[in-house]
Amino acid sequence: MTTRRAFITGTLAATAGAALPLRHAAAAPKSMTVVRESSFIKPFDDYFAKTLAGEYEKQTGIKIIYEATSVGGMLTRLTTIAETKSGPEIAMTALNWPHLFDKSLVDVSDVAGEIGKQLGGWHENVLEVVVVNKKWKALPWGNIGQLEVYRTDWFKEVGVNKFPETWEDLLAAGRLLKKKGHPFGFELGHGFGDNHGWLYPLLWSYGGREVDRDGKTVLIDSAETAKAVDFCRKFYQETMLEDVLGWTDVNNNKAFFGEQISCTNNASSILEVGLRQFPDIAKVTDHGMNPAGPKGRFHLINALSHAVLVHAPDPPAAKAFLRWLYDDKQMSRWLASANAYYAPFLHGYDNHPMWNVEPRYLPYKESLKTSRPHTWPGPQGPAAAESVAKYVLVDMFAKACRGDATKDVIATAASQLKQIYKAK
């Protein structure tokens, strides 16, 4: 027999239980804001803001507001959002930011699992940057690969009809091209992408590593690193312009379109801009994979992803939006609007029709297989971010290129890394 107390408790619980979904339904947000770094591919941003956002509002009544930050400014914006615990509900992450902002990001493992199941599974190498303590903290939509962008006409002039397979072969081609007045221009300054884009792969391809998997053993002081540094010095002195030591990310694009350089490391944005604004240069522009070194061929991961902030008034609503956005019906169209600028980490898109439009973008898809995150094989944590922000690796190579001794530049880098990783 039910006691009076049990009856009242049961009734209250049932009422509360029934009321909760209602309350949730009543509190469904009227709008949500998504902040992302402005894309180099304008149609990609436009498709999101003008087409997808409208479709979602029509289906759910929730207005999606798109906030664009300037290129290179997203980390500062994300820092402000996380520190003030206010602002957009959904934010773009890149590099290893999910690890940096771990505590500010909602676990989206459930959504990632569903998307993976629907679209052929995720590429394994992206897990290292978006999964933190076994929880997905961001959902990657694509990689911005850093490959070699080169002038096919000038390479042919010196008898190179196919992009060189190894660093040594590229050096040989570069010597000939510089003599012809077409030097290379690989960034060695304090930019945010085009420097690390080739310097980490170069180090790895010679067998060098910054730090071990344990994040405590600094490995930079090695014979392999010395070989990479020596090669880089030779590569710089014999193939490049002096100015690359001070370049930031805009300079190589300007130099390429100014017909000042014959080869650089960049995303596919050079060809994309060329096709629209410099058709004559675009005709003779192609992409090559990062050359291989004695220990293999490597590329750099920069997984652009969406993350849900913990301060979002309604995290399930934000996740629901991402679930909808990553559904093939939407994602497929959205990726296509970017002309294959973003290489998706989903195997279901390995043979997506977007790759057939311009075959010159295919190396960016191929490069995913050999892509690793910055500071690999070290852990993707705050120390890795500090190493990247302090340009430890870039400056090690840059100092060697301007003439400092190999052992000195490696010793300086080792000392900085030991301080950063708190290693002995």
Partner: protein, 310 residues
Amino acid sequence: MAVGPASVARPAPLTGRTASRRSVLERESVFSWMMLAPGVLFLLAFVAYPFFYGIFLSLQDRRVASAGTFVGLANFVAQAHDAVFWQVTRNTFVYTIAATVLKMVGGLAMALVINQQFRGRNLARAFLLLPFIVPTVLSTVAWMWILDPTFSVINWTLLHSGLIAQNFSWLGNKTLAMVSIIMVNTWRGLPFYGITLLAGLQTISPDLYEAAAIDGASTVQRFWYITLPVLKPVLIIVTMFSVIFTFSDFQLPYILTHGGPANATHLFATYAFDIGMSAGVLGSGAAVALAMLPALAALIVALTLYLRRE
């Protein structure tokens, strides 16, 4: 002239409360604080709070979006063992001293010239202010083009006039990169010196120069014994402000070189930003930013004491 009865001109008597309010407001100590209050509140909110929060952060091991733990002076000790920090310190002093001296000499020359009577003087004064009026970000982007190896108008001029055989790498060479940011800072800061010193020059009575000329003083002597002593207080104040702005400069080096090549142009502000915002190590970034404080505080105290003595 007819004057009405006193009772007509006399204001109506005040009620007790209004009278006491007015008498309180008329007290100088109250009124002056009322006038100061908006400024003080502004300074408290936007200067004092960030400053003390910066000190608080610098004493913590504080990563972005995480709780901090008190570590005392550990961040400062770590900086003392960081070779880049010392390079940044050297860079900041070289940048500040060189740019300040150039601005002081150039600004004084500019003020002396535009203080003369000549046709189109007002137009010249307006144009000279342009570098100071144009937003730094915008003018620095223009300088990026001016210093670009391919498109540099400086290189083009030097090359075509036969003065150089090959282009200078203004931003790629470590010495030239420092020279470049000093040059751009000087260009931007010169009008501040020029206009302020011009205001000082205009307070000097022409009688002094006339008397000196009658006594046979040369132009150099008049400058040395009249112009410079009268201008000295203005010069000191302008220099103090200029040193503070130059020492903590961020926009210009960040846009032009981002501290490169190989940290050759990294200053306190750019290095602190990279550590605090790009690496997310807020405690350490705050410690680097605070490293500017002793030098600036010493300068301000020294100049203030000097001014008081004068």
